[in-house]
């Protein structure tokens, strides 16, 4: 049995652990000396050097702090909108007759069959000039199908005659929903929140193609530091900050879930 795990161990080491450790190492490399206030004498990074300067810059310069806050805020907003709209779509699927159910599911998934760049440029034509609203709308359009499908799957597991039972016991339709259907669909809502939140924290195409520089997220900045400013040390540090945040959210959620499962 041990031998069978060898390919998996190899793949994990070369494919996942190695690159992650390499990024962590890069983030601790010296990026170069400042020539004046804004420009650094930088070419990728200085091998063999160790410093926390990159992290210090990220957490002290308002440019980066603002960007981290904006990225988090955007992710929360997109998550709230996507999960709310996703729940409404999923509920329509839940209450539809079997024939309409399939049609609605196909309609929800349809945008995902479009090439993502075509999809975004299509949105750009629809949504007009770059700005915050197009960014939020664009990211929501991209993530809504995942939220809707996740919640629809959870709702499908709620037996429909529980609604009949609640009504028979005197509950109006709204009361039957809030007391029975909604609590039973909560695991799906939590899953959808996590999925969309983690995904939108890494938002890149929406902010990059539909936004102005003031709507650029950490992911966009990582691309700019890597490919334009050639400051790989800082890019790696930004990346590490995001990875740690995502891991923390994932860990928190798993703790929350195992606590909920124990109840």
């Amino acid at each position: 049995m041990r031998k069978l795990l060898a390919p998996a161990a190899l793949l994990w080491t070369i494919g996942v652990l190695g690159p992650l450790l390499w990024i962590l190492r890069l983030s601790l490399a010296w990026q170069g000396s400042p020539k004046d206030e804004h420009a650094y004498d930088v070419l990728f990074y200085h091998p063999g050097t160790w410093t926390l300067e990159n992290y210090a810059r990220i957490f002290s310069e308002w440019f980066y702090v603002r960007m981290l806050l904006f990225t988090a805020g955007l992710a929360l907003l997109v998550t709230a909108v996507s999960v709310t709209l996703g729940y409404i779509l999923a509920y329509a699927v839940y209450r539809a007759t079997p024939r309409f159910k399939t049609a609605l599911l196909v309609l929800i998934v349809m945008p995902k069959l479009t090439n993502i760049l075509v999809f975004i440029f299509g949105l750009k034509i629809m949504l007009g000039p770059s700005g915050l609203l197009p960014v939020v709308a664009g990211e929501t359009f991209l993530l809504l199908p995942y939220a809707a499908m996740t919640i629809a799957a959870a709702l499908e597991a709620v037996p429909r005659h529980l609604i009949d039972t609640a009504r028979g016991l005197g509950a109006r339709p709204a009361a039957a929903f809030w007391n029975v259907v909604f609590p039973l669909s909560l695991p799906g809502v939590v899953a959808a929140v996590l999925l969309v939140l983690l995904w939108s924290l890494g938002a890149f195409l929406g902010p990059y193609l539909l936004g102005n520089p003031s709507q650029y997220t950490v992911a966009v900045q990582v691309d700019r530091e890597t490919n334009f400013d050639l400051n790989w040390a800082l890019a790696a540090a930004l990346n590490t900050v995001m990875m740690v945040s995502v891991a923390a959210i994932g860990y928190g959620a798993s703790r929350f879930r195992s606590r909920a499962a124990c109840r």
Binding site: H161, L162, D164, T165, R167, G168, L169, A175
Partner: protein, 236 residues
């Protein structure tokens, strides 16, 4: 008293319930008996208000039920698979109907505890329905249905999911509780023995039509149609 007059429901070209008329007297247990697909489940859903009738009248205590949603009918219902709320404790399940009627917390708690004790479930208040045995789940569904003191109790094949041994015991207890409460009850079943043993009267349905509605003795002695005789296994 429950009066059903000319009740009709079609699904496409099929008559699920065709021109049904019968009465259920105060405190009586009426069994609706028939093979699967005879329309007995549709009849129950019509009375409960979950399906709208094409024509006909249902009245409970002289009050016309036409157009009233299920929550306005004051009818208790026990589904075949009990339909317990899995995210609530046993007590919360029983309290639900009282809460929906706006009853204050202390009062509804007392009523729910009483209903649980009545059905022989004292002590399981805080358990989740999923941790109860089949027989206990059945009692819990019954406790939940009777706690709001409904004008009519509907039972949809309530014993069919139980083991044979427990089923006989529950059958007796069910009848006993129904009598003690004096609760007007309609029980739907495909089990002839069950209907003959616990019902005051039996309505025999086939393809949406009523063949006979009278006491078990009367039906056995004088089956109204060849179908009734055949379904009960009586030789003419």
């Amino acid at each position: 008293m429950i009066q059903v007059r000319g009740l009709t429901k079609r699904f496409g070209a099929v008559s699920a319930v065709a021109d049904l008329s019968f009465d259920v007297h105060e405190g009586e247990l009426l069994a609706v008996l028939g093979p699967s697909g005879c329309g007995k489940s549709t009849l129950l859903r019509l009375i409960g208000g979950y399906v709208r009738a094409d024509s006909g009248v249902i009245s409970i205590g002289g009050r016309d039920m036409n157009g009233l949603p299920p929550e306005a009918r004051n009818i208790g219902m026990v589904f075949q698979d009990y339909a317990l709320f899995p995210h609530m404790t046993a007590l919360e399940n029983v309290e639900f109907g009282l809460k929906m009627r706006g009853m204050a917390k202390t009062e509804r708690r007392a009523r729910a505890v009483e209903a649980l004790a009545f059905t022989g479930l004292a002590g399981i208040e805080e358990r989740a329905p999923g941790t109860l045995s089949g027989g206990q789940q059945q009692r819990l569904a019954l406790a939940r249905a009777i706690a709001p003191k409904p004008a009519l109790l509907l039972l949809d094949e309530p014993l069919s999911n139980l083991d044979a041994r427990i089923r006989e015991q529950m059958r007796g207890e069910l009848r006993n509780m129904q009598k003690r409460l004096g609760l007007t009850t309609i029980l739907v079943t495909h089990d002839q023995e069950e209907a003959l043993l616990i019902a005051d009267r039996i309505a025999i349905l086939e393809r949406g039509r009523l063949h006979q509605c009278s006491t078990p003795l009367e039906i056995c002695l004088r089956p109204a149609t060849p179908f009734v005789a055949g379904f009960l296994g009586l030789t003419p």
